[in-house]
Symmetry: C3
Subunit: 430 residues, 3 copies
């Protein structure tokens, strides 16, 4: 995007706000939760948008949301609305959803289908490559080619759609993609359909939502549905005589399962890169408990028609976590994806999408109620915890507390990544 | 109003905000929409209230809202509530709706009738000239004459009520009034009654509402009801072979109509003063299409009883636009007036008032549904466009875009007037 | 509370806001209402929380809300949630309602009963003295004794519960308590039960709520229910020929009543300390009009079972006002207490609690409707006046107006106390 004038901030106090932020980043205490302003300050929220959400790869959608040529969706990141369209040669493209005339939003719907992109205000018309192809009354000297839509970077990683609002997106995405494709490709997400999508609002900061996602210390006390299929020892524990046998058994199950899955061509080994690169991520394929097939109330598959050409229901759960805003679970029968969208310092949207094979028939192969039961319940429980946290960190008595070295290592990895990325970007923007 | 202490701003960052504003005003690019902060910044919104709405003549009501002695209305401009009363000798007066004791609002209703003005809190009592005539328990040394209501300047221009909150209102109002009286007087608005009044909220900045009003480039694509009576070529077009004949025909109709109306004593010639004076305005009387009588769904009069002593239904539409916040259409059968009231950077109220002859009988001479159909539909369509614009200019990708030289000249005139008035007032207030 | 890092403000403009506040405090005009920013500015609201509500004794509850061991309530002061529990030896204790792990709110309910305090997030467990007694997975080096709950100071003054969030609360509370105990003790509030509790929201600044409470100049024009039992001359009047006899009669009734009550062991003399000490207060026992028994619609007792061991229904009304946020009326049959909680610059909560003898039976000895009728009506009338005032002081025309020297002396005392406490605290915090 080319800007013709220097930016003027809406918030002339940015200098002081930046200084405050730099101080807070500098003194962050390792192994402890963040200081309160990171969750409460609207200034820091704006900085989060600028330094994290407008400069990194953000997961926003799955390819099955736009199966056909001309299909579009719109997604919001802060005040930025992005229009994603599939053009006639099946290419996905992303544009700022803003007319180049007087700035009107182009598409107000969340999804739909279109031929050209026609602004509702004065009918300026763009093609699916974003080119302005028609504008009335603009005179002979008007140059249409200077008024094409502003593009947004987009990557389709085996059906997971990431966008980046920066002029120069982080270059390491291609490495991440290369490492992840072998894990993701076998599930053929791009050949799925969306069976259900749910958006919930959490009255809390987006980082509390992410921190909540990055540990299962809270699972046993809060998630009766989710813990049916999750092994108790899958997410860390303080070792001791009382659980030594259980941990050893679990580790043996993991080794046996990995051997079986790798033999089937399903990579399963853990990759741990959450805080070691710009496009932080983590993956692992873990066995599921009891029937061991899927994250459902009875741990059996929710969809009779399996993904891809799978014949084995017991493929465990391949999880993929990305910084700053997503996590995904790929099973034999369905994929469930989560996208976290910050709305304000104290408000966050979590969009959950369940995909099944495109040929699966609702009511025959699966029901939406059964497919979504575990995560709808779990999301609501997590929402409540995030809201308790938001209320608590607003107290004048709140101080950063210690993370468990056994169960909250990935929360720490999230904070380390966040603090590091903010420092780098803040320094670069001076 | 006399203030006994120097003002202390609520917003101690005003210095920086003013500097930001001055920079943005200075670099405004002619012929292009305004930069985003003009629509988004609460600081600039406060500056708009201070420099535009508290220092210029603001259209707020029509005289038929207060037909009888003792009638009152209250109108809000920002946080200022103004009480307008008609006193016993039929004079309209305006006061700040604030008790001089501890500041209580005096009248909480939007309209009504009163004898004296009695504060609900401690019953301090003012007469209709704003004089404090009673206050209990204040002691022998209390000087009632130092506690009269603060007055607000008011002008009644042939039934259109303008107020000015400044100590010294712009002096050129009298010139504007002198030029407009011959146009307005024949319609005798003061002898009308209010047939309907509707307030709508727009989730957008007041300037987007005004810019939307100042062009009809968007009409053909958005206003199917309004364009029944409006000639396509009445509001500008890029000339070319395809429309040369249509434009020529339209211009001939205008010349013929003007000749006929002027002969009837109805001035019709355009006056173009939107950006050439402090109290910017514009007027013209334009023919209406088809039956040509009124801005209705079938273009026939909505009220059988015509205004004043008119006998000819085909008087076209006399339009009167004022900076910063109003427009009006005077026809043979009714008058429709629009007052735009800013509520916050992103929220605006539009109050539309339809007046008919005071002796017209609802259900016999007119129905409210028919009278209001076109503009209720049009207002809602414009609200949607304003809201699309507000959403779009908030995007980080928004840049000011070019106005059409053929159809958006009056939008440019609005921006030129606004930028100029802001600069002058900002400089004067330093 | 020990903080391990220096505080970083959320609002980096504090320096300027403090300077603005200091200027406004310095130039406050005696005998006049406060300037508008005191009611409107969110910066000053934050300062009110910091300097008034976090450094003084705040009335928050009555002991009958927690009759049994393990009973708890939570109360909010600004963003601070405080958990008050009665432990097994009947001691009341107060803690910040914030887990020492990652800051989750501990108790989300307004009241209830508990054994230990268990955090809903990761089940960290504290006993009723606030000691951390259990935390899973924290490792061998984790020191539980460094993670006990942060305590809040609490005093139980004859059943009225005050808390103070400051590290060092104002020391003069003990003197106030010593002076007030003889007045309050005979009513035995601690042996009461809560018959009703009502919270109302007022769209106004908390100081407008307090100022409204501190005068009855507005009563005759606004409170038809309350003025049934209140003598007209009980709260000041400008003396003159028209009311000289009435005032003299009232003063004789007060002298006679005081003589009778003092002889019964009920102190009645006025104490006037609203603006002469840090923990400002005022008390007096005043006769009630007509039947003279209680603040009810018919001025007879609302509860047949009298408080304590009273046998005389005509004990007038012992009123107790405290700075900054409460007032109370103790009668022969019930106690009504008011706690004012600021929510934002323009939003305030008023919690009213009615207590009767714990052995009184609803439907037999009293009805909630009759008990609460006068103050529910009066609270709603006052809410309206506070909202009129908030609307009015936001006007650009508002100027501080003069208080009546006869009827608004306690409003002045409130303002004097407020301004003085703000000045002292602001200076100390530099």
């Amino acid at each position: 995007m080319t800007t013709t004038t220097a930016p003027v901030t809406l918030h002339p106090r940015t200098g002081r706000a930046d200084a405050m932020l730099a101080t807070l980043l500098e003194r962050r205490r390792p192994g402890h939760s963040l200081e309160a302003p990171f969750y409460l300050s609207e200034d820091i929220f704006q900085a989060d948008l600028e330094h994290i959400f407008r400069r990194h790869w953000i997961f926003v959608a799955v390819a099955p949301q736009l199966p056909e040529p001309g299909d579009f969706i719109t997604v919001d990141i802060g005040a930025d609305s992005v229009l994603i369209v599939r053009d006639d040669d099946m290419q996905l493209r992303a544009f700022h959803n803003v007319c180049r005339h007087r700035g009107s939003r182009l598409c107000d719907e969340h999804q739909g289908s279109l031929g050209n992109i026609v602004c509702p205000y004065h009918q300026w018309t763009y093609d699916l490559e974003g080119k302005l192809i028609h504008a009335d009354h603009m005179g002979e000297t008007f140059l249409r080619e200077q008024h094409h839509l502003h593009k947004v970077h987009l990557r389709d990683l085996e059906g997971l759609i990431f966008i980046c609002l920066a002029d120069e997106p982080p270059a390491d995405f291609e490495e991440v993609a290369a490492r992840m494709r072998p894990y993701l490709a076998p599930h053929k997400l791009s050949e799925c359909k969306v069976a259900a999508q749910v958006e919930i609002l959490e009255q809390g900061n987006w980082k509390l939502t992410m921190e909540n996602n990055r540990e299962c210390y809270h699972c046993v006390g809060n998630h009766p549905e989710l813990t049916i299929s999750l092994y108790e020892h899958g997410f860390g524990a303080q070792p001791g005589p009382q659980n030594a046998e259980g941990i050893a058994q679990f580790e043996q199950i993991v080794r046996d399962s990995h051997a079986r899955w790798e033999a089937m061509g399903l990579p399963s080994a853990r990759i741990e890169e959450l805080d070691t690169r710009v496009t932080g991520f983590r993956t692992q394929r873990l066995p599921l408990d009891r029937a061991g097939e899927s994250q459902t109330m009875n741990t059996e598959v929710a969809c009779r028609k399996l993904l891809a050409d799978f014949t084995d229901k017991s493929l465990g759960g391949l999880s993929f976590w990305t910084q700053p805003n997503s996590w995904h679970h790929f099973m034999s029968d369905h994929v469930v994806s989560f996208s976290v969208i910050p709305l304000s310092a104290g408000r966050t949207m979590v969009r959950t999408t369940w995909c099944v094979h495109k040929d699966a028939v609702e009511g025959v192969d699966y029901t939406v109620e059964n497919l979504t039961a575990v995560w709808n319940a779990t999301n609501d429980q997590d929402r409540r915890l995030v809201e308790f946290s938001q209320a608590g960190v607003a107290s004048s008595a709140y101080q950063p507390g210690p993370y468990s070295p056994f169960t909250e290592g990935l929360v720490e990895a999230f904070c380390v990544w966040y603090v590091d990325r903010m420092r780098v970007s803040l320094t670069a923007s001076r």
